[in-house]
């Protein structure tokens, strides 16, 4: 009996350091960041004068800068493109690889290796591939150069240097219509698509689509051959086998891929820093980058803390239900 009590004590002592570190460095620090975001700490010297939600209000207003509103627009653009790209491409590659191809291992490795390298390396590579080139660089480069050589010069564009945001102009017919029906808020540059983010999404998809491919391939391998054969015997075409049998079965995989990739896209930082930076008119700026610059370059700690808290809330909304449901199903099992 004594030995059991001693083992209990040792087991607690083994995990205690980790639990304390996480309690302090995750939850304690989040608490401190949350507190800081409500203060006037805007220089190197800490200043904990309480200012309420002032720092948050500033983020959502256009003065002194509309940077955060641009960031949210870019984040949505990026997330949609990156998730759609990774899911569609990953699924397509998994289906191709699932067809008993020779050299499957080689193909799989080619699609998966970008995951092993750093976002910074990816950023450096894609900056040269998608860099539009200028008179300084002596003409077009990267893909634009290829377009020129292939006689497709009309396809050339500014890639991540294009500051265009596609949105509903408030003075356009549709914009006027929207404001008539009380949705005028949708007709602003901040509810739109930042074209420069397409380039960042391409680089990120190159890096991460191997992940969805691996998840889908594992799932496809888990579907018993008999199920597909049975559907085929029933006269289902190959297309119907996929739509009726396979797609419903891999729905949970799609959901967890969306959550894992979704939280990565909300946090995206390294890739943007190394590939583009904030871009012209904040065309490629993201909240994580704004937070870093305003905090560690501008010393506006309270403002940075407010961005960090909003970022955390976005991630939490996505991750907490996922964590709760997956740990709960484990207990049941």
């Amino acid at each position: 009996m004594k030995a059991v009590a001693r083992d209990r004590a040792i087991s607690v002592a083994l995990v205690a350091p980790s639990l304390i570190l996480i309690a302090v460095f995750v939850y304690g620090f989040i608490g401190f960041t949350g507190f800081s975001s409500l203060t006037k700490w805007d220089s190197l010297e800490p200043n904990f004068k309480f200012v309420g939600l002032h720092n948050y209000q500033r983020l959502f207003s256009i003065v002194p800068t509309d940077r955060f509103l641009c960031d949210l627009r870019n984040m949505v653009t990026f997330t949609v493109l990156f998730l759609a790209g990774s899911i569609v491409l990953g699924f397509a590659l998994a289906i191709l690889l699932d067809r008993q191809v020779k050299g499957e291992g080689i193909f799989r490795n080619i699609f998966l290796f970008p995951m092993a390298i750093s976002y910074v390396v990816t950023g450096v590579l894609w900056r040269w591939i998608l860099g539009p080139g200028s008179t300084q660089s002596g003409g077009a480069l990267g893909i634009n150069l290829l377009f020129d050589k292939l006689g497709l010069g009309f396809l050339k564009w500014g890639w991540f240097t294009d500051p265009t945001s596609v949105y509903i102009h408030p003075d356009s017919h549709f914009g006027v219509f929207l404001s008539h029906i009380g949705l005028g808020g949708l007709a602003t540059p901040y509810v739109g698509i930042s074209l420069a983010m397409i380039s960042v999404a391409i680089a990120a998809t190159w890096q991460m689509s191997g992940y969805t491919m691996a998840m889908y391939l594992a799932a496809l391998r888990g579907i018993p051959t008999e199920m597909r054969e049975a559907a085929r015997v029933d006269g289902a075409s190959e297309m119907q086998v996929y739509m009726r049998v396979i797609v419903p079965m891999i729905r949970p995989i799609t959901l967890s891929a969306l959550i894992v990739l979704g939280h990565i896209s909300l946090k995206i930082f390294d890739l943007v820093v190394s590939m583009t930076g904030p871009g012209p008119a904040f065309a490629t700026d993201v909240p994580a980058l704004y937070m870093w610059e305003t905090t560690f370059r501008g010393n506006n700690f309270a403002q940075g803390a407010a961005i960090a808290v909003l970022l955390l809330l976005l991630v939490a909304v996505l991750i907490i239900p996922y964590l709760v449901s997956s740990t709960r199903s484990e207990v049941r099992r």
Binding site: I22, T33, L97, F113, V120, L125, K149, H263, D270, V315
Partner: protein, 288 residues
């Protein structure tokens, strides 16, 4: 089954499948082609107008310059930063793997009351945007004298590696039958000797998965390296590469060679141990 397979092999669809796969593979390799081709070009040959062309001569000059730098240009080479990354990544990987193994062992085999609540709280730590802890992190590291040191970075990577390493090991140990542990308990073995004599020897595959995962993510880390170090000579390679690529006077072939140097260790691990890399990848999605 054989008849079925051979019938399938001659279907016209098969040609399409291979065609699509080859095209996709070629597209995925474009960035690497450009990187390798450019890095091996001689300085005379690296005009942007011919950037897609295969090198006509092989030269290591770009690698040398990326590695040692150029005193004339005032450009620092990546060599000291590469070594920094080694000195940071190796100990941080070993320590966090050990810590994860012990945590995973206790959580899988010595479940204590409240563990069901603590575990999700622990896991949440691996999803948080680190921006939400950076401000106090820098303050605390300054207070305890770890700011701007390699030791500080090792410490940070160990702490924020706890959730993922614990998760992977917990799932790994959960698959080992409880009877094994129960039987040695009957024989009077204590918690530590059960770990040392039974679980640890069975843990090698678990350690390989966790260590590959941690090595890759610590080597590739950029944010902590950027925030925790202040002087260029202590920066890890990702931060130094970003600086190198951001300075306009550094030739782009040197940037490409530098990027290849920064990617090399994790690429090599990936090439030789891709099976374990995949496992870590799938284990990263909570359910394992």
């Amino acid at each position: 089954m054989n008849a079925l397979a051979s019938r399938r092999a001659i279907r016209p669809g098969t040609v399409t499948v291979y065609f699509l796969l080859v095209v996709a593979a070629a597209l995925y390799l474009v960035p690497i082609y450009l990187q390798v081709a450019t890095s091996f070009k001689s300085f005379q040959e690296v005009k942007l107008a011919t950037m897609w062309r295969f090198p006509s001569t092989f030269s290591l000059a770009s690698f040398v310059k990326a590695w040692v730098g150029s005193a004339a240009q005032g450009m620092n080479g990546l060599a000291p930063n590469f070594m920094n990354s080694v000195y940071i990544t190796v100990p941080a990987t070993l320590i966090s793997a050990m810590l994860g193994s012990l945590n995973g062992y206790v959580l899988a085999k010595w479940r204590f009351r409240g563990a069901n609540v603590l575990f999700p709280l622990l896991l949440f730590g691996m999803f948080i945007p680190y921006q939400s802890i950076l401000i106090p992190l820098v303050q605390v590291l300054e207070k305890i004298g770890l700011y701007g040191t390699r030791g500080g970075l090792i410490f940070v990577h160990v702490v924020y590696g706890i959730p993922i390493t614990t998760l992977i090991f917990r799932n790994y140990y959960a698959a080992i039958p409880d009877e094994l542990v129960e039987a040695s308990k009957m024989d009077g073995a204590g918690i530590l000797s059960i770990y040392a004599n039974i679980l640890f020897p069975l843990s090698i595959p678990g350690f390989v998965v966790v260590m590959i995962w941690q090595f890759t993510s610590i080597w590739n880390d950029f944010l902590f390296g950027l925030i925790v170090t202040s002087t260029p000579d202590l920066q890890p390679i990702t931060v130094a590469l970003n600086n190198l690529a951001g300075s306009y006077f550094v030739e782009w072939n040197v940037q490409m060679a530098g990027a290849l140097l920064a990617a090399l260790p994790t690429l090599l691990i990936y090439v030789f141990l891709s099976r374990y890399f995949m496992r870590g990848l799938l284990a990263g999605s909570v359910k394992g």
